[in-house]
């Protein structure tokens, strides 16, 4: 793909309180010979949770860090809250909360002291004590950052992103390293932010996180967008029927009893999957499967009809080979 030309936006579009939270068009970023972002375009609406998914090295962090103003794109346009993050940094930073993927907090500083410092940079900050309590760190308020567990460090970093009452937050893998309790509490927090009108851009490797939280999912690979839609639209209508039974049933004979476009397989042993690619499981298909089972005296256990998971979609789009 050839690189799109740099587009300039008229000056009167540089400041606007409405319009998307983030609007990226034809963005390119190269590091030496490596093209990290290769003509990426996406729009994140205000007041929504937008999840950016992608394998390691897909360009997620580069994309977010360009939006945060850390580096400039080589081509394309980026607008964050209507502003150019590379040029209008001073106007943008007070309005945006940032959670970096790791680090950024001095190791020897107690949690509460760090949050209090950041709160002093904002006009109407959250009460640091309340925020610390909300992320469950009251008991560790006087603990040095380096002595917090990985999940606690993430929670402090999350609190730091919220302390300035931002209208837009960038969360780079917010729940990495958290235990299930902290992860669920973080999901509650993000849901509360969304309910209060905060726009959220997050990256994650947890598909469940994106499915639960996101209004809008953007999957990127090799610096390009490969899918961009709501989680429901991406996973599609119910197109799978799964059941468990004794291993070694003759799936060929099962297939012959089903509508023509269906597929049936056993993987792993005893787990049966019937797919209707691009279609929906109809009542007649369910009847055909159970009738076929009844003829053989087989009881299908854990029989479920469901849509594909976001993980299925993700692996289909980005492939199964391991990334760096």
């Amino acid at each position: 793909m050839s690189n799109p030309p740099t587009v300039t936006v008229p000056a009167d579009a540089a400041f606007a309180d409405t319009g998307p939270a983030v609007e990226i068009s034809g963005m390119v970023k190269r590091y030496g010979t490596l093209t990290a972002v290769d003509g990426l375009s996406l729009t994140a609406e205000r007041g929504e949770v937008t999840a950016i998914l992608g394998p390691n090295g897909a360009g997620k962090t580069t994309t977010i860090e360009i939006c945060e103003g850390y580096r400039a794109a080589d081509a394309g346009t980026v607008r964050v809250l209507g502003l150019d993050p590379a040029r209008d940094t001073a106007a943008l930073l007070p309005r945006v909360g940032v959670m970096l993927q790791s680090g950024g907090i001095p190791p020897a500083v107690p949690a509460a002291e760090y949050l209090t410092l950041l709160s002093r940079f904002y006009a109407k900050p959250q009460d640091p004590a309340w925020l610390l309590d909300t992320v469950g760190l009251t008991g560790s308020a006087r603990t040095q950052y380096k002595r917090l567990s990985g999940g606690q460090q993430q929670r402090l970093s999350l609190a730091a992103a919220l302390v300035g009452r931002p209208e837009l937050v960038f969360l780079d893998e917010p729940t990495a390293g958290m235990d299930p309790q902290a992860r669920h509490a973080t999901w509650d927090l993000i849901a509360a932010m969304r309910a209060d009108g905060v726009s959220v851009i997050l990256t994650t490797h947890f598909m469940e996180e994106a499915e639960r939280l996101a209004d809008h999912v953007v999957i990127i690979d090799a610096g390009r967008v490969v899918a961009d839609d709501s989680p429901a639209a991406l996973t599609g209508s119910a197109g799978q029927l799964r059941f468990r039974a004794e291993p070694g049933l003759d799936t060929d004979s099962l297939l012959s009893a089903l509508p023509a476009e269906s597929a049936a397989k056993e993987s792993p042993a005893g787990h049966y999957l019937i797919e209707v690619p691009g279609g929906t499981v109809e009542p007649a298909l369910l009847a055909a499967v159970t009738a076929w089972c009844a003829e053989r005296g087989v009881l299908p256990n854990s029989l479920r009809i469901e849509s594909r998971t976001l993980e299925d979609v993700f692996l289909e789009l980005t492939g199964r080979e391991l990334r760096e």
């Binding site: 945060e68 007070p94 001095p106 940079f121």
Partner: protein
């Protein structure tokens, strides 16, 4: 994490605090961090005071020039204190801040880079004021009697400020270009070398005549010589030392501004 009803608490109310409040908060934070750090405190306070006391009480070095030991040492130890705070301590602290991503994270807050530099400057000057007060009290207790004109009230702060600017420029140059460990090693090495050849406790007059002009042109040499001229020789304005420090300040700050990398 607790889960009280948290909805309603995140309604956006963005806005930066006034610049003055941000700089004051960051400077107070950096000063507290520095005072809590034992190694930094050793460098900035304990070593200068030990040298002042030890070399004043015992003839550990031949000083010549007709000075009493404490009158010779006090200006040199003030120069050392300025170097330890503005150069060594600042280089090491900033190097590790860069390595831990602290500078990067601050870059996402409303505190601008100018604001951060201002906060670091305020911190360094506040620490230097504290150091100097303690050193002068100890010196007085050891019998220090300055031979100075009233102009010293202006010229001593001028020399200290120029020295601080020069040392800070080079501190940030090291911290902003080298790895944190390399900065630590280089800053300590330079500190020890300049302590030895900077006219702090060993008079430059005792060095070979050929080396002396060069040593007086080093920032530490210029600062200690200038302070000694004003505080022990009754000089009004040490033109050459002021000029030397000003040149170092311009070079150091220009190089730091050109080469400092935040990440």
């Amino acid at each position: 994490m607790s889960s009280p009803a948290i909805t309603g608490r995140f309604t956006p109310q963005p806005g930066a605090a006034p610049m003055r409040r941000m700089v004051a908060a960051q400077a107070a934070f950096e000063s507290r961090t520095l005072l809590r750090n034992g190694e930094q405190l050793t460098l900035t306070l304990i070593i200068p005071l030990l040298l002042l006391a030890a070399f004043s009480l015992e003839p550990l070095a031949s000083i010549g020039g007709g000075y009493t030991r404490v009158n010779f040492l006090t200006p040199g130890v003030i120069a050392l204190a300025v170097m330890s705070t503005a150069f060594t301590s600042q280089a090491i602290a900033t190097g590790f801040e860069r390595r831990y991503g602290v500078l990067k994270r601050l870059g996402a807050t409303p505190l601008s880079r100018t604001g951060l530099i201002a906060a670091k400057t305020v911190t360094v000057i506040a620490v230097e004021l504290g150091q100097t007060a303690i050193i002068l009290l100890v010196a007085l207790a050891l019998g220090w009697s300055p031979d100075a004109t009233p102009a010293a009230i202006v010229v001593v702060p001028l020399l200290v400020l120029l020295g601080t600017a020069a040392f800070s420029g080079f501190a940030l140059l090291l911290a902003g270009t080298l790895r944190a460990e390399a900065t630590l090693a280089a800053a300590n090495l330079i500190y020890v070398v300049l302590l030895g050849v900077g006219g702090v406790v060993f008079p430059l007059t005792k060095f070979p005549a050929g080396a002396r002009p060069a040593l007086e042109l080093l920032p530490t040499g210029a600062l200690s010589t200038g302070l000694r001229d004003v505080l022990a020789n009754g000089a009004v304005f040490p033109v050459k030392d002021v000029a030397t420090l000003a040149v170092w300040a311009v070079i150091g700050i220009a190089l730091a501004a050109r080469f400092f990398r935040w990440e």
